[in-house]
């Protein structure tokens, strides 16, 4: 009893600015409810409630079967998908910004997105020359694209990381340059693949690079969940070390941080987390960059605020973007990456202009 109380106290005291976090969480819950009710199929709030209550065994009236299917098998996993991917992108972005000690860093900088894109492009396009697509399909089934994306993303990150590491020391400046070089190289490979692609392959590749959550079902959600949860926990446990890292690598060392181990852990965890999400949903830009920024502007850079905040706000942003993506052109859908960039970029510019005096980078 006493021990339990103590643990709760510690957990509460280690979170910063709980008021903001609660606020974001509240908006997120509200948005999830709105999101459940909105979509191409019209379902009233009462019906949503009916289906949800039924699913936990509290149903009064028997809900419409079609509605219940759309809610439970399409919208709900999709929202869960948005939560997972949004939070992992934003948290990975926040952590990488700290590792690079540059608020403009983004998960794409470690090559995970472009590496994933190469994996997918190879599977979609080059695979057909060598029968690779057929092989991948036979082996991984509908998982061939996510698996290729995940492996490609991880491979690119590992190359970037290896290039920047010498004698166990990882140089962040080299990592930045290696990331840019690997991204350029991957861009060239993707260019080659789209040059060789036939129309259908090109279409698939383009759609993948624009991102979509339409691949969500309970299987994909359950597969993604462990990656995201383990990643969030690992990064959260390093929140304080990341604070210290912002002072500088030497300072972090003086304060007892094994800087190289920290960098390795953060980069690989972020790559695993983002890679898994990218594999399923394609490239979704801007969330990882913008979300941590907004939070820092609101309440400072303390990671025990920024990390949980990013998880919540990233989830919120992606749920919102997906809501727009699947309703604005219903019954068709707009790629979600288009929405995040379309909404994110102007907002980001507005933030930059508003804080022009504060940021001198």
């Amino acid at each position: 009893m006493f021990a339990k109380l103590k643990i709760r106290q510690i957990a509460a005291s280690s979170l910063r600015n709980p008021a903001y976090l609660n606020g974001i969480a509240l908006v997120l819950v509200a948005l999830i409810i709105v999101s459940l009710g909105a979509g191409a199929v019209k379902i009233s709030p009462a019906q949503v409630l009916g289906v949800l209550l039924k699913s936990i065994g509290l149903g009064v009236a028997e809900p419409d079967l079609a509605h219940s299917y759309v809610l439970m098998s399409i919208r709900l996993p999709r929202i869960a998908f948005a939560l997972l991917i949004g939070s992992s992108l934003a948290v990975a972005g926040a952590c990488l910004q700290s590792v690079y000690r540059n608020p403009l860093a983004d998960p794409a900088l470690i090559g995970v997105s472009s590496g994933a894109a190469v994996g997918v492009a190879l599977t979609l396009v080059a695979g057909s020359f060598f029968g690779g697509t057929a092989f991948a399909r036979a082996f991984f089934g509908i998982w061939s694209i996510p698996v290729a994306g995940f492996l490609g993303g991880l491979a690119a990150t590992m190359i970037v990381f290896r290039l920047a590491t010498r004698n166990g020391r990882t140089d962040v400046a080299t990592m930045l340059l290696a990331g840019i070089a690997i991204n350029a190289f991957c861009g060239a490979l993707i260019g080659l693949m789209s040059y060789l692609a036939d129309d259908a392959q090109l279409r698939d590749l383009t759609m993948w690079t624009l991102g979509s959550l339409s691949g969500a079902n309970w299987t994909t959600v359950l597969t993604l969940t462990p990656f995201v949860l383990v990643g969030l926990v690992v990064l959260w446990r390093n929140a304080h070390a990341l604070n210290v890292l912002l002072l500088g690598e030497a300072e972090a060392f003086h304060l007892g941080t094994d800087v190289d181990r920290l960098k390795r852990r953060v980069v690989i965890t972020a790559a695993l987390m983002v890679g898994a999400g990218v594999g399923f949903a394609g490239v979704i830009g801007f969330v990882g960059l913008v979300v941590p920024h907004i939070l820092r502007l609101v309440a400072g850079a303390e990671h025990r605020f920024v990390l949980p905040g990013s998880a919540l706000l990233g989830a919120l942003m992606l749920v919102a973007a997906d809501l727009v993506a699947r309703t604005i052109a219903a019954p068709a859908e707009i790629p979600i990456g288009v929405i995040t960039a379309l909404l994110g970029a102007p907002f980001f510019i507005w933030l930059l202009l508003r804080n022009r005096n504060k940021w001198r980078l």
Binding site: V41, T219, V230
Partner: protein, 310 residues
């Protein structure tokens, strides 16, 4: 060390996750198939059809079931009236909920309809989803019409559609048979503003060229980007293009392509432009498309400017 532990854990979890989830999904599929067979038999009531892919939509309309179509994808542009219907995006990237919101009783799709997850979800909702293989030959094109007709319970209507296709086809073959020459034809496909692709072996374009009594000017597999040297080496007598491609490039720009003036086609300004969906769809207009190609190939009315003709 710690990183390795994390990686190991994640892999363990993903394996467990996918194993745990594999079975219920298959089960769902079997269920939905049973449901779908049930629905397919029940053809008395008017269907609510979502048609995905231009040729499929054309077939459904040709079979007289246009009234029953409640939605289509953006590649469905013929007949004109289909464009007034709700659009569910491109057939390769459909959203399950978007399709379901049209409360269809049946979804008919061209080969390549996806993503797979969306198709699965639509099936799992108890909707019959029929995907038809892309035909490679005229026989298969006719078979596809029959299969679609069977799916929507209009086998009688299929007979007259196929009859028209056959008579037009025979007419075209007759024209081709009369000709003593076998012109070299180069199929150009405009993708984007600056990319022109050439249709090689095992493409629908080649099928049309061969049936029309022409010879594909290139012999590589699939589509490849056009190069000036490749163009000269192919020595085409005639260019074959989709109308939309000609419109987007402009006729003048086509004649100014590097190397084209070194070929018979360029010197004689011979270009056949045909509506994309008609030429490449292998749908009900297969025969009439073939007549167009054959006629323009062997009996050009105006060799200087074939573009104006429709």
């Amino acid at each position: 060390m710690q990183v390795k532990t994390i990686v190991t854990w994640m892999f363990l979890l993903i394996v467990l996750g996918s194993v745990a989830c594999e079975r219920p999904v298959e089960h769902e599929n079997k269920d939905s198939k049973m449901v779908s067979e049930h629905v397919a038999v029940d053809v008395e009531k008017p269907q609510r059809i979502v048609a995905l892919g231009g040729p499929i939509t054309e077939i459904v309309y040709a079979l007289g079931a246009g009234e029953e179509v409640v939605g289509a994808d953006i590649t469905s542009t013929y007949p004109e009236s289909v464009t007034a219907l709700p659009r569910v995006g491109m057939f390769r990237s459909i959203a399950a909920e978007g399709v379901l919101s049209l409360t269809p009783t049946m979804v008919l799709g061209i080969e390549g309809v996806g993503p797979d997850t969306s198709v699965e979800q639509i099936r799992a909702a108890g909707i019959d989803v029929e995907i038809f293989d892309e035909p490679q030959t005229f026989e298969q094109a006719k078979q596809r019409v029959e299969l679609v007709a069977k799916a929507i319970g209009r086998t009688k209507e299929a007979e007259s559609v196929i009859e028209t296709m056959r008579s037009e086809y025979d007419q075209a073959i007759a024209v081709a048979g009369k000709s003593s020459v076998q012109p070299r034809v180069l199929f150009l496909y405009a993708r984007g503003a600056n990319t022109l692709l050439v249709g090689g072996k095992n493409t629908t374009a080649e099928t049309m060229i061969t049936l029309a009594g022409g010879l594909n000017a290139v012999d590589f597999e699939g589509f490849k980007p056009l190069s000036p040297e490749g163009l000269i080496a192919a020595k085409p007598d005639v260019l074959l293009m989709a109308e939309k491609g000609v419109e987007s490039l402009g006729v003048d720009a086509i004649w100014q392509l590097n190397g084209l003036d070194q070929t018979p086609a360029g010197r004689n300004r011979r270009l056949i432009a045909i509506d994309d969906a008609k030429l490449l769809g292998m749908g009900p207009r297969f025969g009439s498309a073939l007549i167009e190609v054959t006629t323009q190939l062997h009996e050009p009315k105006d060799a200087g400017n074939a573009v104006g003709e429709r």
